[in-house]
Amino acid sequence: MSQTDTVTDTGEIASVSGPVVTATGLTAQMNDVVYVGDEGLMGEVIEIEGDTTTIQVYEETSGISPGQPVENTGEPLTVDLGPGVLDTIYDGVQRPLDVLEDEMGAFLDRGVDSPGIDLEASWDFSPTVSAGDVVEPGDVVGTVPETVSIEHKVLVPPDFEGGEVVEVNDGEHTVTEPVAVLDNGEEVTMHQEWPVRQARPSEEKFTPTEPLITGQRVQDGLFPIAKGGTAAIPGPFGSGKTVTQQQLAKWSDADIVVYIGCGERGNEMTEVIEDFPDLTDPKSGNPLMARTTLIANTSNMPVAARESCIYTGITIAEFYRDMGYDVALMADSTSRWAEAMREISSRLEEMPGEGGYPAYLAARLAQFYERAGRFETLRGEEGSVSVVGAVSPPGGDFSEPVTQNTLRIVKTFWALDADLAESRHFPSINWTESYSLYKDQLDPWFEENVAPDWPEERQWAVDVLDEEDELQEIVQLVGRDALPDDQRLTLDVARYLREAFLQQDAFHDVDTFSPPEKTYEILTAIHTYNDEAFAALEAGAPIEEITSIDAAPRLNRIATQEEYEEYVEELEAEITEQLQALY
């Protein structure tokens, strides 16, 4: 959050009820940031009615009383953008949590404000323009090595006019010193501010054509998401939303990751803080933290800041998109965000809609996901923001408003399933309910970059799993032994698809990340078993013998092999040999 010292007006607190405070005598506009009470707690104007201004306060309001002052900054809620955003963990209004810890110890106190980036730190600026060049909004004037992985591009802010460069200052500078000066007097610094509730401008939005590779078999293999795409992960508690999102944050081939812990557990954020610096980004070989920004507004932190953390995150994502990067944003959980809206709305005594949520729930969700996409940036480059939102439906019931309104917008649906989770089938993505509307538009990429028959192999797997689903219904009535041999064999193959292909152990050093090539190899190895087994059956080999060859169970072990190519080759040969020996 950027700091402003200006006070445009002062009023007085009239009432306090939890995170909602009203003030009188304050001249303010919607979404102005205000400082509330003697301790100067940060808040935002959310309603104006006559002389009464209603404010949501981003910090605890215990002890605050009527009569205390309210100061208006006259500015909307903004984030600080510039080098230093990466490798940092923020609260919901972009206060760096390590700075807060330094100032108030292990427990979060209130009334401490801090800029989102260190305004005193200096960075080594290398210009890419020289005096005489003409620059427009969105153009790059130079670069800064922000982390070992990421070169930070210093952009002419979108709200500048642009013009001819008259001065360039290379070398070490703080983020507030001008690094380029234009002929109209505009000074470009490494620091920008942007109002969080407003999307950063871009030139155009394209149809995504490249997958965001997740390194997760069921996702890349069956339900892929595009770079610039949207996905929802709904599931009851304990079904694997957070692990799935953390897997994406770790292994997806995005350039930048923005991870928002919105109203969830403190320890989950701590885990990320502890793990990410030691994990290696498969793309760059550098520590994962070097491409990551974390936003943590845990469930016990103030509810109003939970409402804003989503916006803080997406604005940061857009900023790196504007530099031409592929950004992946994870929001865990969008339901907590929606509940924060509901809580504030009910304190405002707004008319509740379905499930008590405000009538604007659907619109807010749509606006948020709409900020995802593959874009042409202002200077004509490509950049993308992919958005993956967890949804936590009450009672695990997907018919509730947040899930339903989300599904109307997102194009990838990874439905988590409590029964799968209970039997420790992870990721517990239900393969009959889930879908990806990007599948077809991403096929050419997979054909070209992984295997020409990628779509056919996937379709084969889907067909077998569908057939298993139907057969299971019969089995539930008559038992497996009553099925004809070929159907029993299909069940056997489907079981390998589930255990060797769909299941993936996030906690196994090797299995946690499955490159698309490996995903493909596992699939084709099962397919080989399928073809050889059916050939054996047709040649008269007994089904019991076919399904009990001892090479087949080793299909389940491919996933954990580091040198999987060799393993698969030998295994396929052995399976073939053992099956052909039966006839």
Binding site: G396, S423, Q476
Partner: protein, 476 residues
């Protein structure tokens, strides 16, 4: 301090008072009735000329003639190490006839949120001596792991067994560690009988000396229940992070706590959420459950075992549902297992410990632990599905492999889970018993376990499916 006699409305647990000075949100209030009874309350809403107060001890006897004093501060609890061994009521007043408590400090009971950067990720294995927990839903120091129970199920016995048996194996504990265990117990709306069950056990085992007990009984005021767990957690945090104790906090019964929240919400005429519980119940519960954990550079820890009874045995009810969304797993008790006499009747499939993975494995428990646990889950889930099928088609319709899975499920419940409330198994025993029951399954079924561990621990018949003698045995 100004006294007001300006009560304008009394409604359920709420009292509205006209004021002519600014009153702080959340401030503590004393209300004195004409008969001299003093009740405490808290400011729920404050405006220029009136405040809304929630009265902890109920509003009986409060009328327009009562006088109201605003204490100018939020609710605080005197804390000291001397609280160990003491029994207090739900508002923190001693009820054990012991000496007056001389506080070291007075702490705000609401408690501030722990900054995630200051936390230390919990990963120190606690051995509870209970196979279904240690083997498959491992508890670690600083975790919040509730027991999801239902009326008539032995959750108290289980909580007590954990409290009695919990220990940290020597090679897991930090070098030269001398940190002590303490128990903080908060009873909310529980019966005298339940309370006695805990107190007697604490006394018998000598645990009382290292315990602090807060009791809000079933006939105590309901609104007081909203402060009892906060008092307990404030005490727990003090003992853990000031005095260096490893504190096990038992909160029972969270269902009664939530009911009190609902009552206050209804009295305020708030728009209710699911099944009448307040829309902010998630946030409210999170403010309790998140007060567990470890801090970097601090010796102690707060481990939470909240207990709740699921209304109608329904785990989608808002109380278990919201709890499960906040806590780091849950231990689920099963009615069916209980009626079969399984002790403790832990239904492992819907149970979960999210912090298990970092707390187990080589050097801590055993290298095969994670694979064994996954295999137990997978095979038991399959066994339970098969049981449903057997009910329809009979056991004869199953092939040999399926029959073995059924035998496994049987043995798993009978030998692994049903250990009794007074058996303390170390984790080696637990894993050995796991292998005993897993060895009922054909070897190549154990796809979740690394081959090297199968070589080392598998004791079953190596024969593959199709072996005739094996089938007859299984059917015998």
């Amino acid at each position: 301090m100004k006294e007001y006699q300006t009560i304008t409305e009394v409604s359920g647990p709420l009292v509205y008072v006209e004021t002519d000075e600014p009153i702080g949100y959340d401030e503590i209030v004393e209300i004195e009735t004409p008969s001299g009874e003093v009740k405490r309350g808290q400011v729920l809403e404050t405006a220029e000329s009136y405040v809304a107060i929630q009265v902890f001890e109920g509003t009986e006897g409060v009328g327009q003639d009562a006088s109201v004093r605003f204490l100018g501060e939020t609710l605080k609890l005197p804390v000291t190490e001397d609280l160990l061994g003491r029994v207090l009521d739900g508002s923190g007043n001693p009820i054990d006839g012991g000496p007056e408590i001389v506080p070291d400090e007075r702490r705000d009971i609401v408690g501030a949120a722990i900054n995630p950067t200051a936390r230390e990720y919990p990963e120190e294995f606690i051995q509870t001596g209970i196979s279904a927990i240690d083997g498959m839903n491992t508890l670690v120091r600083g975790q919040k792991l509730p027991i999801f129970s239902a009326s008539g199920l032995p959750h108290s016995e289980l909580a007590l067994q954990i409290a009695r048996q919990a220990s940290v194996p020597e090679d897991v504990a930090d070098e030269g560690e001398e940190t002590e265990f303490a128990v903080v117990f908060a009873g909310m709306g529980i019966t005298q009988e339940e309370a006695n069950e805990f107190m007697d056990d604490f006394e018998r085992t000598g645990a009382l000396e290292r315990s602090v007990v807060f009791l809000n009984l079933a006939d105590d005021p309901a609104v007081e229940r909203t402060v009892t767990p906060r008092m307990a957690l404030t005490t727990a945090e003090y003992l853990a992070f000031e005095e260096g104790y490893h504190v096990l906090t038992i909160l029972t019964d969270m269902t009664n706590y939530c009911e009190a929240l609902r009552e206050i919400g209804a009295a305020r005429e708030e728009v209710p959420g699911r099944r009448g519980y307040p829309g902010y119940m998630y946030t409210d519960l999170a403010q309790l459950y998140e007060r567990a954990g470890r801090l970097q550079g601090e010796e102690g820890s707060v481990t939470q075992i909240p207990i709740l009874t699921m209304p109608g045995d329904d785990d989608t009810h808002p109380i278990p549902d919201l709890t499960g969304y906040i806590t780091e797993g849950q231990i689920m008790l099963g009615r069916e297992l209980n009626s079969q006499g399984v002790e403790p009747p832990i239904d492992v499939l819907p149970s979960l410990s999210r912090l298990m993975d970092d707390g187990i494995g080589e050097g801590v428990t055993r290298a095969d632990h994670s694979g064994v646990s996954d295999q137990l889950f997978a095979s038991y889930a399959e066994g339970k599905d098969l049981r449903d099928l057997v009910n329809i088609v009979g056991r004869e319709a199953l092939d040999e492999r399926d029959n073995k899975v059924l035998d496994f499920a049987e043995a798993f419940e009978g030998e692994f889970v049903d250990q009794g409330f007074h058996t303390n198994r170390d984790v080696e025993d637990t894993l050995d018993i796991a292998w005993d029951v897993l060895s009922i399954l054909p070897k190549n079924e154990l796809s979740r376990i690394d081959e090297e561990f199968i070589e080392e621990y598998y004791e079953g018949d190596e024969s593959v499916a199709g072996d005739e003698t094996e089938t007859e045995e299984a059917e015998a």
